[in-house]
Symmetry: C2
Subunit: 424 residues, 2 copies
């Protein structure tokens, strides 16, 4: 029997009682950022619940401006708080099941705990120490490889042996809803021998997800693949904005730099790995077999349906330009984390790892304009007749994602950003 809440939730809502993500919010009445969960169209003020001693014990990490203290509290505590919150919000909540309060019958408390989403302001959920971005979709790596190196050399020789990753920029990770100023930088135009300083002409999005480190490891002590799940707290949607012309000129030999670090947007609600657990599926078969340190017995793919929409300034509603799925990822997040630490690198609470662009096998499932328009060769036609090779000023790109349960969803909401004209 499917668990239900005493709060009415649309079956298409991302925020069922099976989800219960965590985020940081504030209100006009109380502008100090604190931790909440989300159910249906309400934010649940966990700081109030904790301060009022509604849980069986006081946790002391919800009246905080980031999730970091909570995330550092180890997996057993994450499970315990999730269980307590589920009990509190479920429709068969009763004094027997919850000795302290029957929230569904306490109107005064309800009005302080449940805040309509229209009344809240979200904040960056996590203080991110280091941000790493992987390149774990075989389809994406193959597409990009074909475009830049030809079909024969599409995948580099190392790609099937390890999850390629590189360090990103943590300071410029921003929250969904913040605008993106078109970057200006060095670009080498076709048939030129010297670069020019220009506003990027090939601004792109990248459809990604990201996971957050809950508890870290010590320098020199790698995380084994069997223990990876102990360290991963939850996930968000991530848009790795990319300036392709700046990237093409700068990236050799040390990788992308300024073409990526002007902004990386994430969704505000961190969906826990426990909420995603029912949606684990087998990932793609890995051939050649990875080295033993990357071998994992259990299924570690996630069936998360992903969607990208684009809305220009003159459009009335967003238009879907891609549908993909997290399950297509070749290298799973346990492999990513284990590989990241294998030479001894230490992860800290709040570190974020992006999956890399998640492209599917078909042309309508690609995770970037670069791939969808095949480097501009096949422009996208929008419903109002506008054409797009890359993103134009005024375009809003929105990524969404959810897992479909039986009559409910576990979703991520969205990460959205609008392109503004470059500075003069």
């Amino acid at each position: 029997m499917t668990l239900k809440s005493f709060i009415e939730i649309d079956p298409d809502s991302d925020f069922s009682i099976q989800n219960l993500p965590y985020g940081v919010f504030s209100t006009k009445a109380n502008p100090s950022p604190r931790i909440g969960s989300r159910i249906g169209d309400f934010v649940v003020d966990l700081a109030v619940l904790d301060d009022e001693k509604i849980f069986d014990k006081q946790y002391g990490f919800f009246n905080e401006p980031t999730l970091n203290k909570f995330m550092s509290a180890r997996r057993g505590v994450w499970k315990e708080t999730r269980k307590a919150l589920t009990n509190l919000l479920s429709s068969d909540s009763s004094p027997l099941k919850n000795a302290r309060v029957e929230l569904s019958r306490n109107d005064a408390l309800q009005s302080r705990v449940f805040i309509p989403v229209e009344e809240i302001q979200m904040h960056l959920p996590v203080a991110i120490g280091d941000y790493t971005d992987f390149y774990a979709s075989r389809e994406h790596a193959t597409n990009v490889g074909i475009m830049f190196r030809g079909k024969e050399n599409a995948l580099m020789p190392n790609w099937l042996h390890l999850p390629i990753g590189y360090h990103g920029r943590a300071s410029s990770v921003i929250l969904s809803g913040e605008d993106i100023i078109r970057p200006r930088g060095q670009v080498l135009l076709p048939n030129e021998s010297s670069p020019q300083f220009l506003a990027s002409r090939s601004l792109d999005f990248e459809l990604e997800m990201a996971f957050f480190i809950g508890t870290g490891n010590h320098l020199g002590q790698p995380i084994s693949i069997e223990n990876a799940h102990e360290h991963i707290f939850g996930m968000v949607l991530l848009n790795d904005w990319s300036a392709r012309d700046i990237q093409a000129w700068e990236y050799q030999p040390l990788g992308p730099f300024l073409s990526k670090n002007f902004a990386t947007s994430i969704s505000p609600w961190v969906v826990t790995m426990d909420a995603l657990e029912p949606f684990r599926v087998a990932g793609p078969r890995q051939d050649p077999a990875p080295l033993p340190y990357l071998q994992i017995v259990s299924d570690y793919g996630y069936d998360i349906r992903l969607e990208v929409t684009l809305q220009s300034n003159s459009m009335n509603e967003p238009h879907v330009i891609s549908r993909s799925n997290m399950k297509y990822l070749y290298w799973n997040i346990a492999q990513q984390l284990t590989h990241h630490t294998v030479t001894g690198c230490n992860m800290r609470t709040g570190d974020m790892c992006g999956t890399g662009t998640i492209s599917g096998p078909t042309e309508d499932s690609y995770g970037s304009m670069l791939e969808l328009t095949w480097r501009g060769e096949k422009p996208i036609t929008l419903p109002n007749g506008e054409m797009r090779k890359f993103l134009q000023d005024g375009d809003t790109v929105t990524l969404k994602g959810y897992c479909q349960g039986d009559g409910y969803r576990v979703g991520f909401g969205e990460v959205s950003g609008k392109i503004l004209e470059s500075r003069k």
Copy 2:
């Protein structure tokens, strides 16, 4: 006339009164980390000076476990504190020049303020948000280019147009003196088609310097080259430990990752840009001329003499294996910082930027084993007859650096690390 302190300082000491670097230290008597300066063989407890109101005003940022609060206080304040400290420590310090106290004649206070270096423990001076590593030495980039791509294609087409850089890992930045565990990771051995999981066989150092961001910039608002100096607080020595075999296999197409992030060592004393000011020199001529946003009128090279020593377990003293100089850097630190922000990337207080390996023009001035032994083709012979292609377990690598003034030095001390056997 050269400024002198009432404290006796060896003319070969890195820590003259012209230097006055900042660091974080603790003592057995007071184990709480706090900010100090260094003069000769003494650490100056700035927290005591501030708490006792010895300066003309109380700063309130010295009794802190990192320099960040101080660094965020803007350049005017950095200059003011340096001047106050110089006045206090100079030999012509008098009640006229310093109304509150004549430190040189106050024995009771002196014993609390001046702590012999043997009695102190140094700590990481800065909470580093993001760490970026540049690749700004033409000699280094050329040497590596020749080895990996041949003489014709040694420098990538972009190299002379922009300071190549990439994001590094902040979590694994460690202090001088901490041991380095030889990393294990994926390596493709010669004539093999599949990688193996091995302890690195080509562990290397990289002779670098690094600068710290004092005050940052907002996302989307680049720092102009004219204003770069307002944002740079000071410098340290940096050893960018590198596992060359792991690097060779992993680095395409997104750059070095696990081959670098197992450890990056820095020296404990942050030498301010004000102390380095007298040692500014012209850098190499830049041809082709950089784009206007990277053009700078003033000399922005620094005459900092650099030295690398190696000592194996069976040697009684360190042996100099390279001598280089910061002035050889092709892209100066103002250009590095400006370029870093040109697409809009925000820098935050405490961010660290490495210069990249600083190799000089001659074979005995190269900044890595890779170059000194030309990828192992010309092993180094140590005084006791031992040979080295790359670093062996038990080897200690030490980087030193100083500016030579007229009868005094402004130096960095050292950054040192010993290689330990890999974990099984």
